[in-house]
Symmetry: C2
Subunit: 134 residues, 2 copies
DNA sequence: TGTTGATCTAGACCCGACTCTAGGTTCTAC
DNA sequence: GTAGAACCTAGAGTCGGGTCTAGATCAACA
C-alpha cells in the first residue's frame, strides 16, 4: 500500500529529485510522511494529485500558483470561492493558449502551402526566406 | 524607411535588449546593418520576420530551432526539404499541444463542475481537495 | 560479510531566455 | 554648449524549474 519515492517517480514520470523538490516547495497536499528510518512514504492519492499537478504544469500553471491552490485547500472550508476563481482563471488562460496556438497553426499552414507550391514549381530559392517575405 | 532599434522595439513588442540579444544569437535573417555611427538600422521586413519569430516562440519553438531555420534559409537553395520538414515538425508539435490543452480543459471543467455542485450543496470542505479526491 | 543499490540532506549547478549594469558615445533641443 | 534621451559593448545577473553532487545511512542478497 505504501509507495517508495522510487516507485512514485516511476509511476508519475517525475524524477526522485523533482519529487523532493516539489515537497520542499510545498506542492504536496498532504505533508509527505516518513518511515521510522526517515524514508518517504507515498500513497495512491499522492499519485492522483501528482497526475493533476502535471496536467496543470504542462498547461502552463506555475508552481507558485499550484502552491497557492494547495495552501487554500489546506486551510480547509471557507475559501471555496477563491479556489474556484483560481481554477477558472486558469481555465480561461488555457482557452486563450488554445486560440493562440490555433492562430499560429493557420499561419504556419499557409506558409507551408506556399513553400510546397514553390518547391513543386522548382522555385526553391523563394521558399519562405525571411529576407524575401511572401 | 530606416528604423531605429527603439522604433523596432516599440512596434515588435520586444525590448531593445532582446533585439540585441536576438542579433547576437543569429536570429535575424539579414545581418543587421549599421549607420556610420554604429547604430543599428532595421526595415519593415525585419518587423515582419520578428512577428513570425514571436509566433514561433510563443508556440514553443526554441530559439535554437529558429536559428536552425534561419541557417537553412541563409544557405540558399538546395535545402527546401529540410526547411519544410522543420516547419512540419513544429506544426505537428503545435497540434499536439492543442490536443493536450484541450484534454486538460476537459478535466478542469469536470473538476470545476463538481466543485460548484458541492458549493451549492454547502459541502464546501469536500471541494477538490487533493487529500480527498473525487 | 560485504557489495550493490535505494534512500537521505544540504546545497551547488544548469539551462533557456532574457534583463540589466557600467561605462562610454552620439543625437536633439534649447 | 549643455542637458537629457537614445544608442553602443561586454559581461553580469535573474528567474523558473528543475538536476546533480557529496557524503552518509540503510536494506537485501550471495
Amino acid at each position: 500500500m505504501d509507495l517508495s519515492i522510487g516507485e512514485v517517480a516511476q509511476r508519475s514520470g517525475l524524477s526522485v529529485h523533482a519529487l523532493r523538490f516539489y515537497e520542499r516547495e510545498g506542492l504536496f497536499a498532504n505533508p509527505v510522511r516518513r518511515l521510522s528510518n526517515g524514508r518517504r512514504i507515498y500513497h495512491e492519492e499522492d499519485l492522483e494529485w501528482l497526475a493533476i499537478c502535471t496536467k496543470l504544469r504542462s498547461s502552463g500553471m506555475s508552481l507558485a500558483t499550484i502552491r497557492q491552490y494547495i495552501d487554500l485547500a489546506r486551510q480547509g472550508p471557507g475559501n471555496e470561492h477563491e479556489r474556484l476563481e483560481l481554477l477558472r482563471r486558469h481555465e480561461s488562460d488555457v482557452e486563450k493558449q488554445i486560440r493562440d496556438l490555433q492562430e499560429t497553426l493557420q499561419v504556419m499552414r499557409y506558409k507551408v502551402r506556399i513553400y510546397e507550391e514553390h518547391v513543386v514549381r522548382g522555385e526553391a530559392d523563394r521558399l519562405w526566406n525571411p529576407s524575401r517575405p511572401e
